[in-house]
């Protein structure tokens, strides 16, 4: 997984039927200390009620669908946690 920060929302009226009703967010990948990683913005399905500005755990690839109500959904990225804190040692 990677650490992301929610930076926006995608509005798409015409989309795959299994995505209807899903909240689709724009996520900026960040380093553990919160810096934006250039060129790494993704679009992800929200499964935990994340909001703009929150730091999240982003899972990618085919397992992202397992976080959704049905794993038949054709997504490759899902927000699976809201980060309270990162302890770097």
């Amino acid at each position: 997984m990677v650490i992301g920060e929610v930076i926006g929302t995608v509005v798409a009226t015409s989309k795959h039927e299994l995505l209807v009703g899903s909240k689709i967010l724009v996520v900026q990948v960040v380093t553990p200390d919160g810096s934006f990683v250039e060129g790494r913005q993704m679009v992800a399905v929200d499964t935990v009620g994340a909001g703009t500005g929150e730091r999240v755990i982003l899972t990618t690839g085919s397992n992202a669908a397992k976080a959704c109500e049905t794993d038949r959904v054709p997504v490759d990225a899902a927000i699976i946690g809201i980060i309270d804190n990162i302890d770097l040692n």
Copy 2:
């Protein structure tokens, strides 16, 4: 997923039998504000009726097949939504 802009069409007479009849598009990955990301062009199956110049949601990896009529199709990228708007906060 990533945000893409449809920039062309691929014509391939000789192809895998499960791809016959599919519309195969060239998609340029773009940033949330619409800038082209250098070196990131992909070829994707269209599942939502996207046209040239439209911004789309592009899903990649093995789940892309789930957007097609049969998930036995050997594709790794599919257009699953047409973007109306992106709200960046």
Copy 3:
């Protein structure tokens, strides 16, 4: 998927049993206008009878196996189409 150009052939006597008899090609990833993308050469199973110098559609990841005779084959890249033309708008 990505656009590739076939640039060579791999000879490997000792290989996984399910690869015996497969044609294994070296493919250079190219941009839609045909330029070589630096550092992106791949090795792929041919499923459509592609030859050196031809532009092809290359699918990657676990779905590549679906293009083969049996999807139990441990490959991550397959040529699934020979490109006649790319229309860029």
Copy 4:
């Protein structure tokens, strides 16, 4: 897989139910001689009891779930070994 060094821990109260109870670590990808690879930090589930500063084997993609108690977990990275030594020839 890649070689990683554990550099921190992620605390996330709100997360996918199948992640509750899992230890989620921040891992820095390193070269075989131990140098940090710039921009490649990941978040992974620990399955072998790894601790901060240890070098680990990190598996990514959908197979990472196979290292967990149930493979229905929506993760894309797992620590599957603690490295004692790397012999470079």
Copy 5:
């Protein structure tokens, strides 16, 4: 797949139970003409008896497990062939 050169061995006493007994190698990704690709070293399970200095075919992602004795193993990279020769045209 990519072309790799075996450059070392990983010793890990504490590891996932399905990896016990597997030979785990460090592989440097190389170009078709044998040049090392900077920053691309991987750790892979050997399934064909490859040794240090040999050029190999490396498959990545979830299909890598199909090359192993059981596909329940949580790996994302496997050596599936030893390269005798590459014919570049």
